[in-house]
């Protein structure tokens, strides 16, 4: 019985001793790798205040591992070339293989993050469609592909209006319906180009916008007898007073 008790003590003593041994600290030992550290991008030349035929959008590339004392080039490729809505290199965006773009794909010495400008081209075909450029990081001599969930990013762009994600917040000003012709009419008559955020405490400002747009639409339709303002599919534009008197 005594023997059995001693064996127990010996067993637990060994367990405790082994658990106290010092472990080496974890260190990054992999090869340098890169991944995208930015969200997908939506862009429309429709809202651009300049009339330029090209525009830069930015994607952020992050390098894993220690910064290098020298510049290191990396590689980005288009991975959706075969898709129906794929942007066409040289027509819709500056080719990634071009000299300009190759110069941009260099992680500077001492840095591990870089915002890379991607130049979009305002081709006339964008008046009629929305295209997508899917960028993917690729292996090269300096970097391998880093986090697989972040190895690609999408840039969706067009010359058409794109419905603001917070359209319902503008309901009292613009009503519920949305279309690209209506959007252009709103921009032309209110001067608003950034719809990301409505002013705080803005109900009566929104009602002012609604009244103004209704009057401007009335004037437009009067000036174009038989051809009232409509979307491309013939849907008549309206700013039907959505207002419910709050008093």
């Amino acid at each position: 019985m005594m023997m059995k008790k001693n064996l127990y003590l010996l067993f637990w003593g060994l367990i405790i001793l082994t658990s106290c041994s010092q472990d080496d600290p974890l260190t990054y030992k992999n090869d340098p790798a890169i991944y995208f550290a930015s969200k997908d991008v939506n862009y429309s030349f429709f809202y651009a205040e300049s009339t330029s035929l090209k525009a830069d959008v930015f994607v952020t590339v992050h390098a894993m591992g220690n910064p290098s004392p020298s510049d290191r080039s990396f590689s980005l490729i288009q991975s959706n070339v075969s898709d129906a809505d794929a942007a066409v290199s040289g027509i819709h965006f500056l080719p990634l293989t071009s000299q300009d773009m190759q110069k941009r794909m260099v992680m500077p010495a001492g840095q591990n993050e870089l915002k890379v400008p991607i130049t979009l081209l305002k081709d006339p075909s964008l008046d009629l469609k929305i295209v997508k450029l899917t960028l993917k990081v690729a292996n090269n001599d300096n970097f391998k592909v880093g986090i697989s969930e972040c190895d690609s990013t999408n840039i969706t762009f067009s010359s058409q209006a794109i419905k603001p994600t917070n359209w319902k917040d503008w309901y009292y000003a613009f009503g519920a319906s949305w279309g690209s012709v209506k959007m252009k009419f709103i921009i032309d008559n209110t001067g608003i180009t950034n719809f990301d955020k409505i002013p705080s405490d803005a109900l009566y400002y929104l009602l002012f916008l609604n009244t103004k747009l209704q009057q401007k639409l009335f004037e437009y339709n009067n000036a174009h007898p038989g051809a009232p303002l409509a979307e491309a599919d013939g849907t008549l534009i309206n700013f039907d007073n959505p207002y419910i008197n709050p008093s």
Partner: protein
């Protein structure tokens, strides 16, 4: 056992029925309110008082008994209704008003402490920083600008308010109109740190000329807004023609035939964009209690335009729209007569473009946009009414007052006949006529025809009491207000 249980249940049920038929002969009696507390309290008119000045009110009581009742005067702040301030426990109120500038409700309570019951009345109390409040406001043109002369109920005059009291930039253009908004006006102010504070439930004056506008804080006569702050987007062409408000304190401003509005008590006190449509709105609106009607000079139709909901065409009993263009009529003057809760009555002075004859349209509008077909009567060609530009209709009688040079005339609609009411001195030209009602300083009610005349020396304001119900006036009064400049509008502020 079960049988016994059923018997008990039956007994209980019968007991309820028997109790339900019992005739209650309790020892209580019903008493009328007057039997219980016979005192009666007359309504107290609304009051304006300058802060730190005497506030005296002698209430009118019936069946009063000072040995039986206790008395209490207190206020509730309109912006903070939970703040109660006791002013006095005396029968009559006689205090130095040390309330802050603002709007209050004044309560007068008579209590029977033995029965612990009371009766009370209340009235709006406005405490101002200025003693320019209740009284008459005359709009006048002088030296190429517009200014306001004030006359208190006791007759004290303060001339040139904008120049000498408010000391704001001169108001451009000639006078058009002025309104007093007793409450529910909001004003946004920008703080030094860039944040915005909205002042709610303010009292204000809108003073309008054909080219300019100013909004004043009625409690201290500071400037709330000048023209460029009055709109969300200032119209490119300023040609202000009229301003009115409805019973909800919604304000309607007419600029160059377009109707702009702002809701009372809501928003930041700015006028909206012009109401959508191709209407050219006549400068006078008909404001009923629930609806506001406008006359469109393009289509010659009358529209319901309440709350800025848009232009809703009024229609007759058959559902057909009633537009004066149907008979080639052109509206020369649109005269409000009676504004009741559900209906308004108006006269229209019209010219028929087909035969060059003149007519009066007598019509009313009720139930929002229901307008029965008007009745028409021809105006004799010899009547000065057809060429007059200054006219008004009283609330009660079927007449139209108008002016021809120095004469105040009355056109009797039912008889198609003119009558000279008053011939002013040669050179005295009538510029304004209106039937106005209110309460004098001594508490008496007035129902006067107020007339403004101008001469090269200045203006005169006459008050002619209406006599009887046929529109006749007592025209013997001499001018009770005079001043320099050329006046063409007067506003009476009761409170």
């Amino acid at each position: 056992m079960k049988k016994l249980f059923n018997i008990l249940i039956t007994c209980y049920t019968l007991l309820f029925f028997v109790c339900g038929c019992y005739d209650d002969k309790g020892n209580y009696n019903y008493m009328s309110e007057n039997e219980l507390m016979p005192v009666g309290i007359s309504a107290i008119d609304s009051i304006s008082v300058k802060t730190q000045s005497a506030l005296k009110i002698t209430p009118k009581l019936t069946n009063d008994d000072t040995s039986r009742y206790t008395y209490l005067w207190y206020t509730l702040d309109k912006n903070n209704p939970y703040t109660r301030d006791t002013l006095s426990t005396q029968h009559d109120l006689s205090i130095n008003c040390n309330l802050s500038v603002g709007n209050y409700t004044l309560y007068y309570q008579v209590k029977d402490p033995r029965k612990n019951i009371y009766k009370s009345v209340n009235t709006p109390l406005t405490v101002t920083a200025t003693d320019i409040n209740t009284g008459w406001y005359v709009l006048k043109a002088k030296d190429g600008f517009t200014d306001v002369d004030y006359f208190s109920l006791s007759g004290v005059m303060k001339a040139n308010l904008l120049t000498d009291v408010v000391k704001t930039e001169k108001l451009q253009g000639t006078p058009v109109s002025m309104i007093y908004i007793p409450s529910n006006y909001n004003n946004a102010i920008t703080n030094p740190d860039g944040t915005t504070t909205i002042l709610y439930n303010q009292s204000a004056y809108h003073i309008v000329t054909n080219k300019d506008m100013v909004t004043l804080n009625a409690n201290d006569l500071t400037v709330f807004k000048r023209l460029n702050d009055e709109f969300y987007e200032t119209p490119s062409n300023i040609n202000l023609q009229g301003i009115q408000q409805d019973s909800y304190n919604t304000q309607y401003l007419i600029n160059d035939g377009h109707l702009h509005f702002q809701y009372g008590g809501q928003g930041i006190g700015k006028f909206n964009y012009q109401l959508a449509g191709g209407q050219k709105v006549y400068p006078t609106l008909i404001c009923g209690s629930y609806d506001v009607y406008s006359y469109d000079q393009n289509s010659h139709c009358i529209y319901d335009t309440r709350f800025g909901d848009g232009f809703t065409l009024c229609s007759d009993e058959n559902g057909s729209t009633t537009c004066f263009s149907d008979s080639a009529f052109v509206m020369l003057n649109f005269l409000p007569r009676v504004d009741e809760i559900y209906s308004v009555k108006c006269y229209g002075v019209l010219k028929n473009g087909l035969n060059d004859k003149y007519y009066i349209a007598d019509f009313g509008i009720s139930g929002q946009s229901y307008m029965p077909t008007p009745t028409f009567s021809e105006i004799p060609a010899a009547s000065g009414l057809v060429s007059s530009t200054v006219m008004a209709a009283p609330r009660g009688a079927s007449v139209i007052y108008y002016a021809t040079d120095n004469k105040l005339m009355m056109y009797k609609v039912a008889f198609s006949a003119d009558e000279v009411l008053k011939a002013f001195d040669i050179g005295e030209k009538v510029s304004f006529i209106k039937n106005m009602r209110g309460t004098n300083l001594d508490g008496t009610i007035f129902n006067d025809l107020v007339v403004i005349t101008n001469t090269s020396d200045g203006y005169k304001v006459y008050r002619f009491p209406l006599v009887g119900s046929a529109g006749e006036i007592n025209a013997t009064s001499s001018a009770f207000m005079t001043g320099t400049g050329a006046a063409n509008f007067i506003m009476f502020r009761q409170n």
